[in-house]
Symmetry: C2
Subunit: 352 residues, 2 copies
């Protein structure tokens, strides 16, 4: 045991760096005992373990990853493979993941690739060659998988914001309940003629958010204000809808709108405002995403639904670590709740 710890330490050590040898010496124990104490393994009195851990802390000892890997059979790195080169969804997930894992000494290596199976293969092979302890597969929409073949992987895998099988472990936002939150907020503010403007029908997220809109209306005995309007995920689409509404008499316009993303919401608001209408007085608007660079810059700032992607990354990381450590983990998809972020585009909520 002691030699398997010492050798790699020496191989990769930097002159002057504190090694486990120094910790063992300071605590008056063998290197093997020091190693066990620092890895929470082996049998010793709590006092001994505490003494060794204190010595390590006082010396500023940080266990070398190669040495720790030899002791624990772990590399203390997690791979994050994604085809979301734009980073809109993956970066918050990665931030949550890193924040959760860095305190455990685990680094996250992100590989982003265009939707090209060959690039996917090269990157996956690199992750395998580097013996990452586990893999997060993160996408850019909930109804598509990545162009990667995973069946031969021996390491644990967790899917985030991408399609996965029934036997996989995955995390997604609860889009349907999130959409219902948005519509309940509009209803709570007294809105009754609530329209829905959203992205292309081909997206599962669109279907789920539309269901949430219908759920909330039904629960309050309200009829949908017209059919959902489907277009592109763009400001331009929202703008054209806003212009059309502005040209109608007030009795034919909605008094509240739930938009499928923040860009559509911004387009709607800009068109209404430019036509002389007031948001939220004439029409209340809710978005979806809480993409802050948009939501905060919209005039007025946008009330919207946040998918809690950072929290999703955090939970995915902790589940993956459990799997790496051999703990039992339930299979299947976890749908995490969204939350409403209130700004000024809906008006003042009624007193609770």
């Amino acid at each position: 045991m002691s030699s398997s710890v010492e050798t790699p330490e020496e191989d990769v050590s930097v002159p002057g760096r504190i090694t486990i040898r120094d910790v063992a010496k300071a605590a008056g124990v063998s290197i093997a005992t020091a190693s066990k104490a620092l890895n929470d393994r082996g049998r010793m009195t709590p006092e001994t373990r505490a003494r060794i851990q204190t010595a390590a802390r006082d010396l500023g000892f940080t266990p070398n990853a190669v040495a720790r890997a030899l002791v624990s059979q772990r590399s203390f790195t997690i791979g994050l493979l994604t085809n979301d080169t734009y980073g809109r969804f993956t970066l918050p997930v990665a931030a949550g993941l890193s924040a959760a894992l860095i305190d455990r000494g685990v680094s996250v290596f992100l590989c982003a690739f265009q939707d090209d199976p060959e690039a996917a293969r090269v990157n996956l092979r690199a992750m395998q060659d580097k013996c990452v302890d586990g893999l997060i597969i993160a996408g850019k929409r909930i109804d598509r998988g990545l162009p990667i073949e995973l069946p031969r992987l021996s390491m644990p895998v967790v899917h985030v914001y991408s399609l996965c099988g029934d036997d996989d472990i995955g995390f997604m936002p609860d889009d349907r309940a999130g959409a219902a939150l948005a519509v309940q907020h509009l209803i709570g503010l007294g809105r009754r003629r609530i329209a829905h403007v959203t992205g292309p029908l081909a997206f599962a997220a669109v279907a789920q958010r539309t269901e949430g809109w219908a759920d909330a209306l039904k629960a309050h005995g309200l009829a949908p204000f017209g059919a959902p309007l489907n277009g592109t995920w763009s400001e331009g689409f929202g703008y054209s809808v806003g212009q059309a509404w502005a040209a109608l008499p007030p009795s034919e316009r909605p008094d509240g709108v739930f938009c499928g993303n923040d860009q559509i919401a911004r387009g709607v608001i800009d068109a209404l405002t430019l036509a002389g209408l007031n948001v939220p007085r004439d029409i209340s608007v809710v978005g979806f995403d809480n993409w802050s660079v948009f939501a905060e810059a919209t005039r007025p700032p946008l009330t919207t639904i946040d998918m809690n992607l950072q929290e999703m990354g955090r939970q995915a990381g902790l589940v993956l670590l459990d799997m790496v450590e051999g703990l039992p983990v339930e299979r299947g998809l976890r749908r995490l709740p969204c939350r409403l972020v209130t700004r000024q585009s809906c008006g003042v909520p009624p007193p609770a």
Copy 2:
């Protein structure tokens, strides 16, 4: 030689995978000869080398990275360390880097961390432990370094969009010349009263872009239209400037504006438009960044300066590979040219 190639192949091989053993058999040579041919090493006739390479291609053989690393002493991975967790600058750099390296079988591992020296240290250590061949250090502003101590690193390092020393190798956009491009475009369209609205004075990029504005005006014998207006990098700041201008008589307003980023430009345009002015007829507006999600959604779509961050990533990757391969590389900072992206916020350029 043959055993150093075979052993790791077998250790990490997946059932059914094509190995160098299969290539050697198909080409009728020893494993050692096949290895040399595929690594462009050793002495053999060009015909033999070609025969082996053809056999490898026909079989779909992709050399295992561990085996290649043992032969070539390389791990075929590059680390990208960044404190740009938002990804605004780093993702385009990473995309260019990955695109350039993937064809050479090199993967890019990105580690993003908040501005926390402890997280930086853990991530850098992880990169070292994984024996990445080289490191790209990428930041989020050109006048700050990352909170990382690098002197002890034995691997080559290239800095991108972050402060580096005279002895380092770095890449930055030529902000000053890029700004001058923007102003020359306005002048070419007949604008003569050209204002500058930009970010906080504490940013070096602000100073350089302001110099470029002054350079171009001077080269055409024009006076600056007022002092540069410094504020936050936000739509809100641009909006307040646009509102103030809209309240002035036309003779006291600029007829062209160069903005320090796209968000400021959008704020200016929105305020002018809402006040009944027309962009570009009354005032032409140029941004900086070509953040397409903003620039394309602005009404009218924004003419802006692109820093060519993808190209910067590509060049940084190729220089880093040269260093990994031991080729001589000139020290110092490379400033890469920016380019003008013409949309509709300045009007139609005059015929060439």
